[in-house]
């Protein structure tokens, strides 16, 4: 079996892992830390590497775990979350859209819009601006496609809690995209 030499890891896998982390966490300094931690964890776990996959695949698996941990921690940071009241508080219109917060008409008539890079950038920025708890929940469930029960376990929340957070995240993303793109 070939000898594995961690001395070359930074040169051989650094860029790849860094890109992998960067598109998933969005912040260069965080991505760098995660890659660094991945290398350190890899060296410590070297004995358990079974040569069933390439070293890079194995390192990516470690990095994935680090990314989940990052979002798990992020979700526990206490912060003031302002929940926009979009629905009427009382009377006939209780729990129905308040006119000024109701969805405006979007021009969605072309599929080209889905390929628009500017729109993707705005959407990505909107996701990053979600409150930590909602962002963690949304990113792990929707972007990283972890299963619902896994997300609940990682974030220590109940399924109904998860549904509410995903929903709040979508309400806010919709508002954000409307302000940032459709209502320019």
């Amino acid at each position: 079996m070939p000898e594995i030499n961690p001395d070359n890891w930074v040169e051989d896998h650094g860029d790849y892992l860094y890109n992998y982390a960067l598109v998933r966490v969005g912040r260069p300094e965080v991505a760098e830390d995660l890659v660094q931690e991945t290398f350190l964890a890899g060296i410590k776990a070297l004995a358990s590497f079974e040569h069933k996959s390439s070293v890079q695949t194995w390192l990516v698996a470690i990095l994935k775990r680090k990314i989940i941990d990052y979002y798990r921690k992020k979700s526990t940071v206490r912060e003031e979350v302002h929940v926009e009241e979009r629905f009427g508080p009382y009377g006939n219109m209780q729990d129905h859209w308040v006119e000024k917060h109701a969805p405006a008409q979007w021009q969605l008539n072309s599929d080209e819009l889905l390929e628009n890079d500017e729109l993707k950038k705005i959407l990505q920025a909107c996701i990053r601006h979600l409150p930590g708890k909602w962002a963690s929940c949304f990113i792990l469930r929707v972007m990283e496609e972890l299963k619902g029960d896994v997300v609940c376990k990682e974030l220590n929340i109940s399924p109904s809690n998860m549904w509410v957070m995903l929903h709040r995240a979508r309400l806010q993303l919709r508002d954000c995209l409307e302000k940032g793109w459709f209502n320019q």
């Binding site: 961690p6 860029d15 598109v23 760098e32 890659v35 405006a104 979007w106």
Partner: protein, 92 residues
């Protein structure tokens, strides 16, 4: 949000079901409630259309992310920092 047994649901409940539908199959009764609500509510119809659009856009974004190779390279300084810490670990 529990909507069982109701024929008419509110926009708050309808939008919740629309969100949920992006990840999970709705129960038959929920689908019925939502359909009925959407027939009558312009804003929730918009919301539904827009949320579906966002789901598709995110799908495209994910595909892009998966296909992306190395676009940004570590700087020499970053690499140096990493190597240093790995050496430190080895020597301890």
């Amino acid at each position: 949000m529990e909507t069982q047994g109701k024929m008419m649901i509110t926009c708050k409940e309808a939008t919740f079901l629309i969100s949920k539908e992006q990840q999970d199959k709705l129960r038959f009764s929920e689908r019925l409630q939502l359909r009925l609500h959407l027939l009558m509510c312009k804003y929730c119809r918009r919301f539904s259309e827009q949320v579906k659009f966002m789901t598709r856009a995110i799908g495209r974004m994910k595909k892009r992310i998966e296909q992306q190779g190395v676009e940004v390279k570590l700087t020499a300084e970053q690499k140096q920092r990493m190597k240093q810490r790995l050496t430190d670990l080895k020597n301890n």
